[in-house]
Symmetry: C2
Subunit: 367 residues, 2 copies
């Protein structure tokens, strides 16, 4: 499918990922029976399970994409650290790993010490929130290989996080015990996660002009500030639930691909489906972007989280007490729906044109 | 010091690294007594030692900088994987870690499946050479945030590698047992490592014009091909020596900062010095670049490896047998000098204007 609105080609992206995975597979045998042995049980998982002499390690990498432009436009640099941490530690959490360390790479065109200071301050704050340490990092000056908006330092920022599977878990959480009747809890998001910003920027540019970030969103905020809203980090909550002995059967981190694609990764091991008839509605500013860009429900729910940052599958009997513990921990949640035996994900959408979006589990395609 | 020739500012780079480290330190306490606890013994080391429930893990991150432009210029994409792997696994090896896994992030402006295929093929081949597996990776389309040479796909490529400290080692190798009289072995490099390419490109552009890569170097090679020469990966050799019970007291991976800066990291724990009066001479094409750019010995030895890719400090009594094992393993080495009690590194340089380069161990500065 060509995603014409954002200018990115999803099919080509998938093809390139498959090419990379094809070559990567040729290296898996290098660690068989040694430290760093890759466990193959959960292909398509959010993070990888690697055995280091009995320690079950998780490793995952990601960047914050073009959300960086929002910092360049607003001059606010001390919140992107939350986005950087969220993208990787929540991919670890999605398989049950307790995130522990993060190593980051900051590519810049030229250096501005004040901007670096604000970025790293935000990274430290987000790391303290997530309970992880930053043992290492690298700053690379790459001149005209890095571009962006405006005249200040431009940069791209990515990281790799490692974590450990808590003793409480016999194996990584990958949806393997899900049964019909299980409940799906949705954790509220704070705004856009660090994906889907190419489309966002395109819509706002077309509707509000080159300096769209400085246009008023409401009496208090400009558009740039609203879109920069930092990601909420769920990983400490997930670790807390696991250490409290709560059984979480599957966890979907809702990033690119939206609810359907990411929940599908959790359901496909058991060929289950889900009926989600009580999800969170998108934030006001998400809905406004959807409206301005005349983005249909299907596309909006494919690209953005639409108010639902993470979804947990739990036993029906324990859903209330788990929701209580989540709320006590300072996160907002609701029972969004339940697991069904039919191999479909049905989402009662809550955007500008509420409708039933139905996806086939096997193909991952909308029906 | 302003490195005028390359256009990068080393002092500002160091300042920004210090800023980043200052903020990172505020996160170290987050893992005290937990998995992912950072061991603070070897500040300034090439890689970090992290305790995961008794497993001593090493983690390090780096990218291949502007060497990428050489692939864009020559259209040869299947060798950069060796550079990517070398930069991180050899930083692990420099502290004794056996590299095991690598996670990579490829940032592109737009996707070209054929180029991605060639890059990942090279990464797989280099990983097989290094005996590591590639459990994960990420490809990010960042549009005009990524720039480069020519009209094809532009990209920046970085990775994070993890490894394990072999049981044979009581602790990470960090130069802690070095004494005067120990010998310094130099391992021959194949060419430039993946650093110092901004200056390289500037010199060649000024001397040979915009299409310098297509100018003849000799009857067989163009300049672009010579500079693209992939990095030799030392990590399997280091692991082999350690597993064979050979005592390696200190290991310097010669990247940015050259022999002096990187050997200094190994010597400063014991306040030793080194007299290096028998190092490898630079490769012919290195020497030619030095000549074309009228780069002085001091600068050349600060930015490039000048023929010496890695240096090992070993006991005088075992140096011959270790050299034999290195040679049998297919690597070239020579006894480059020895450890001295005086806190200076003295390098008898072998570039265009051979001379004694003397550096103070405490300040790291040239005397």
């Amino acid at each position: 499918m060509k995603n014409k609105e954002s200018g990115t080609n999803i099919n080509l992206g998938n093809k390139c990922s498959q090419i990379a995975f094809g070559w990567a597979k040729q290296t898996f045998g290098n660690r068989t029976g040694k430290a760093g042995d890759l466990k193959q049980g959960i292909e398509g998982a959010f993070s990888n399970v690697i055995d280091y002499n009995g320690v079950r390690l998780g490793i995952t990498s990601d960047g914050i994409g073009t959300k960086v432009e929002l910092a360049e436009r607003t001059g606010i640099y001390n919140t992107l650290g939350y986005d950087l941490v969220a993208m990787v530690v929540d991919d670890l959490a999605a398989n049950g790993f307790e995130a522990a360390n993060l190593s980051n790479i900051l590519d810049v065109d030229f250096l501005d010490a004040k901007i670096v200071d604000q970025l790293m301050k935000g990274l430290a704050e987000a790391s303290n929130f997530a309970g992880i340490s930053v043992p290492g990092g690298e700053i690379a000056e790459l001149g005209n290989r890095i571009g962006g908006w405006g005249d200040r330092m431009h940069f791209n920022w990515c990281s790799t996080a490692t974590g450990i599977l808590p003793e409480e878990l016999p194996e990584a959480i990958a949806g393997q015990t899900i049964i019909p009747g299980d409940k799906v809890i949705s954790l509220a998001s704070r705004g856009f996660r660090s994906n889907g910003f190419s489309l966002l920027r395109k819509v706002l540019h077309e509707k509000l002009g080159e300096n769209w970030h400085a246009e008023k969103y409401d009496d208090k905020y400009m558009w740039g500030e609203k879109l920069l809203t930092p990601c909420l980090i769920y990983s400490p909550l997930i670790t807390k639930l696991i250490k409290a002995g709560k059984e979480i059967k599957g966890i979907a981190h809702i990033t690119g691909g939206g609810i359907a694609d990411n929940l599908n990764r959790v359901l496909k091991l058991t060929n289950s489906g889900a009926l989600l008839d009580n999800i969170y509605a998108p934030h006001g500013f998400m809905q406004k972007v959807q409206e301005m860009g005349q983005i249909g429900e299907e596309q909006a729910y494919l690209i953005w989280n639409m108010g639902n940052g993470m979804m947990l599958v739990v036993n029906e009997d324990s859903v209330e007490e788990i929701c209580d513990l989540i709320t006590q921990s300072g996160y907002d949640c609701k029972i969004a729906g339940e697991i069904t035996p039919k191999q479909e994900i049905i989402i009662q959408s809550m955007g500008n044109e509420p409708q039933k979006l139905i996806y086939d589990i096997k193909s991952g395609q909308k029906i």
